[in-house]
């Protein structure tokens, strides 16, 4: 914020993305990330406070749509959302932070401690990205794969996230941290669709223990077509350990991180599948 000269509060998404075309424009949603930023290139703050439509959380039939300015507190108290999503929102920060942290901010920021994207990967969510050229719908895995900054380059704005709760109806989220309000050491989320006892769709995602939230295809492959049993979940958990290079973390050793991945992936899958 050291070189910021202008502070603007657009009245519409169109006006916001027009402002974002200017070099040096930065987006202000909840503000927990931006307010302490020392980015010398930030010249214009585009404050989204007046874009009230983006605060809407809509559940229509088979589709859930979370506006980009929906807060973690809204998710935490929503009645009609998957419990894993409520749990992920509850695990983020503390009450006064959850009151301002937004869905869009959790996605756009692209730092390892963003918890929500991990769960959105497991729900196979799609990110709605709006720019002056129009609206794109980007699978969250692709949105994160390069880095959100690249996905949003050229003045693009996250305007919503959507998913179909029925696609991966068995899902779970686990955050492992030293205290309730600390940054995660490891986040795990998974989503399953099981038909006749056989796993037909699977998502396994990790966060915090990797530089940026990502899916683990090796673990997903170990699940597909297999019976939904503890043995299968154990195999998938082992596959996850072999597939991921943990991020250096001064709080925990590499050996511990590997054991964490295995234990938490297994627990998340067992939790998603429910009591045998």
């Amino acid at each position: 914020m050291i070189n910021v000269e202008k502070f603007v509060r657009p009245a519409s998404v169109d006006a916001a993305v027009a402002l974002l075309q200017e070099t040096g424009s930065v987006v202000l949603a909840g503000g927990t990330g931006l307010s302490l930023s020392k980015d010398p290139n930030a010249r214009t703050v585009v404050d989204l406070s007046d874009l009230h439509d983006l605060r809407r959380l809509e559940v229509t039939g088979e589709r859930v749509r979370l506006g980009a300015l929906v807060t973690m507190t809204q998710l935490r108290h929503a009645k009609e959302l998957p419990l894993s999503l409520v749990a992920a929102a509850r695990s983020i920060g503390s009450t006064p932070l959850r009151n301002v942290i937004t869905v869009g901010g959790e996605l756009a920021r692209g730092v390892y401690w963003n918890d929500l994207p991990v769960l959105l990967l497991a729900l196979d969510a799609v990110v709605e990205v709006t720019s002056a050229a129009g609206v794109e719908r980007v699978p969250v895995a692709a949105f994160l794969a390069d880095h959100p900054k690249r996905a949003l380059a050229g003045g693009k704005l996250v305007t919503a996230v959507e998913f179909s709760p029925g696609f991966l109806p068995m899902n779970a989220y686990i955050k492992y941290a030293r205290t309730e309000v600390d940054y995660a050491i490891c986040d795990v989320a998974c989503g399953l669709r099981v038909e006749g006892g056989v796993i037909r769709e699977a998502r396994v995602a990790l966060g915090a223990i990797v530089p940026l939230a990502r899916r683990v295809p090796e673990a997903e492959q170990a699940l597909l077509g297999q019976p939904a049993t503890p043995e299968t979940f154990g195999m998938a958990a082992k596959a996850a350990v072999g597939a991921v290079e943990p991020r250096p973390d001064f709080r925990v050793s590499r050996e511990y991180q590997r054991q964490l991945i295995e234990a938490l992936v297994r627990r998340a899958l067992e939790s998603a599948a429910g009591p045998a």
């Binding site: 502070f7 202000l28 503000g31 307010s35 703050v45 404050d47 006064p96 932070l97 301002v100």
Partner: protein, 158 residues
């Protein structure tokens, strides 16, 4: 400089601020010094205020971002002559030691009781989870919130 206006405890102010000025630093600059600057980066919770009725950490809110909105601090709760039931309960429970975290914690507690008129211990813990208190160990504060909730409910019935 950015022109802003906001309502602070019922009084409207208008001024020009630097784009990186936090709401916390603005409040202290205009003399609202019940709002404390502990860490300045969103960890300690000593700077909590109600922004349009929502409990937030004012060190992470930009003053310009709060323009056009309503800010309430502990001064809006009560004073020595006319304390709020929460303030009375905190004093009587022994929930205040050094007092640095208390103005913000009282606002967090008020939000808890607004959302849950008969809060459970879990609901109180969640509502106060943004506030570090290095003196008390939180037990007495949880008791105080429960006591205040009971008193407020009785006052409502009178």
């Amino acid at each position: 400089m950015i022109p802003i206006q906001m309502e602070i405890n019922g009084q409207t102010i208008e001024m020009e601020v630097a784009p990186d000025l936090s709401l916390l630093d603005l409040l202290r600059a205009v003399g609202v010094d019940s709002v404390k600057k502990g860490c300045g980066e969103g960890d300690c919770g000593a700077c909590g205020v109600l922004l349009d009725g929502v409990y937030v950490k004012s060190c992470l809110i930009l003053a310009a971002q709060a323009s056009g909105r309503r800010v309430e601090t502990v001064e809006s709760l009560g004073n020595v002559e006319h304390p709020h039931p929460l303030q009375t309960a905190f004093v009587e429970a022994g929930a205040v030691q050094c007092g640095f975290c208390i103005p913000s914690m009282l606002l967090a507690a008020r939000s808890v009781i607004e959302a849950h008129p008969e809060p459970t211990v879990e609901q109180i813990k969640e509502g106060l989870d943004g506030n570090l208190c290095r003196c008390t160990g939180y037990v007495k504060q949880i008791e105080a919130v429960q006591t205040a909730a009971r008193v407020m409910k009785e006052e409502d019935h009178e």
